[in-house]
Symmetry: C2
Subunit: 334 residues, 2 copies
């Protein structure tokens, strides 16, 4: 049994905690709580032990039972998944995890240069086996890496250009915008391109990004120049056969990110998550030696299964394919 | 004096009517009205003669004075600008304009194959001189054509890939969505690529498109493979020197389509329109022999000046550059 602690119970942390509880080879020792919110009520209802980050008076006052202090949690686990806001994860490592020789998984907000390796299970599991500090790349980088890895194996990638149309905020987030604007990222390339190379080291990729006024998924349009001439049917088959990628179709009236999210709820996914990267069948095209495709990325959930596999890789579990299969079975992922 | 009639007083028609009134060599004979709405009140306040399309009872009942029937308008003009919904323009031509040997300008909703020529003034004015039926291409095609024409002249275009992030609906439009989704166009290429070739005949271009939940402008991300290696400063200078293109900058806090629209109001443009294609300075980059840039297109207004130039071209005015200068001066366009 791998004893796991989750630090930071936000968008990713709370999902990783649930996913850990569903693994046969893992035990969720506890999570951390700092301030009172609906998240703490949910954790309490799920009977997850809550360890206090800082003063616990506000939590206790609101009826949240505290299992101990943050430091107590660290003494009981084999590994930490740190879903803190960016930069805090690496600060925690230097202050708390390193002195205790405790392994940890970080999220995509941390810098690649701060960790031992960046991670997307189906791309570079082997590279991360036994590493102490692994970074699961961001939702967008994960989405790009999963599908580009398939194309790279099939045809060889010469050069990739991608535009990321990003959701403005998560559905629960009432503080961010835009309400009515398109906001380009005014740095070229956007950070996503270089980030893909931390996982797929030999892929030449250049990215642009924008934020838009909606909350349901990111969408990527990708132009992948291949070494061999691509074929649409072959690509559909390869995506279909790959793990954690789902081919969706206009035929079944999945015409937008809204319909993907509704479909995820209809098939009973927890929280209505869609961890698979969804590629539109009718959005795949070939022009000269270039493959074009359009994919949707559920920003809140696609990296959750990656965190589970990263835990196994860090703990020295050697078989990446087996880890992916175990994670998928436990979480109901294609 | 060129006597102009405007058929269809919607998003484009009403703007073209205003623009015609501002030209020294043109006279707005009248517009058409079908049903009662705020648009008719505005036309009445501007003292524009209104000719009835069909039964005029509803208009009269609501205090809108009618100058005559649609057919009466046709007898008084040299040329029609037809801003009817798509397909209706060409139906009008066959039924009304052709029998009267009346020239007409159509909008981008009509098929290129239905007209004598497609039009973007700074790209192919000469080709359209004296033509009876000219089609001003859509707002997106106009935006692509204007900037690609500059790059084509500067470096030669080898191949272009562009993604169009389109506004979901116009600001006044309460019937269309999406409220919360990204909706890809599930045909590859989207129609914009082939449409650019009706104006810039030799440009190899492939486009993808999506609709998003906002109303302020379209945004394009463009990857233009050039025959010579592009240079960012050179491109900024060339866009700056070109007509109907505006370089905007993050430096001046123009970070989004919302700020462009506010800026347009602040500089006193009628209706807050931004007819120039806005290219973000910080969004221009070079990777190998490829130029990348991000531009915003004001869907309601960029084609209005094109309609004015198209009128002159159709009427046989030979000097395209002079026409553009006249139109720009009258409309306050860069």
């Amino acid at each position: 049994m791998i004893k796991v602690g989750v630090v930071g119970y936000g968008t990713i942390g709370k999902r990783v905690a649930d996913a850990v509880m569903l693994q046969k080879d893992m035990e969720l020792v506890g999570i951390t709580g700092r301030s009172y919110s609906w998240r703490m009520i949910a954790a309490k209802e799920k009977k997850i032990p809550i360890y206090a980050l800082g003063d616990d008076e506000e939590l206790r006052k609101n009826g949240i039972k505290i299992a101990g202090k943050f430091e107590d949690l660290l003494g009981k686990v084999d590994i930490i998944v740190d879903g803190s806001p960016k930069k805090i994860g690496i600060e925690n490592r230097d202050k708390y995890y390193k002195p205790r020789k405790l392994k940890a998984i970080f999220e995509g907000g941390e810098k690649a240069s701060s960790v031992d390796a960046s991670f997307v299970a189906q791309c570079n599991y082997d590279e991360c086996i036994g590493k102490d500090y692994i970074r699961v790349v961001s939702c967008n980088t994960t989405g790009l890496s999963r599908t580009l890895n398939v194309i790279n194996k099939l045809y060889g990638l010469k050069e990739v250009y991608a535009t990321m149309i990003r959701r403005g905020a998560d559905p629960w987030d009432i503080r961010h915008g835009p309400i009515n604007a398109i906001v380009p990222v005014l740095e070229l390339p956007s950070h996503h391109g270089p980030d893909v190379r931390t996982v797929l080291h030999d892929v030449e990729i250049f990215t642009t990004a924008l934020s838009v006024s909606q909350t349901l998924m990111h969408v990527h349009t990708i132009t992948a120049e291949c070494k061999k001439t691509p074929n649409v049917d072959e690509v559909v088959k390869a995506f279909d056969a790959a793990t954690r990628i789902r081919v969706v179709a206009n035929d079944s009236l999945i015409r937008s990110t809204a319909e993907i999210m509704e479909f995820a709820k209809d098939i009973g996914k927890l929280r209505g998550d869609m961890p698979e990267i969804c590629v539109w069948k009718e959005g795949i095209g070939v022009h000269n030696n270039k493959l074009l495709y359009i994919q949707a990325v559920h920003q809140e959930s696609d990296v959750v299964c990656e965190n589970i596999d990263a835990i196994r890789a860090a703990m020295g579990f050697k078989d990446g394919k087996k880890s992916i299969a175990m994670t998928n079975a436990a979480l109901g992922i294609k």
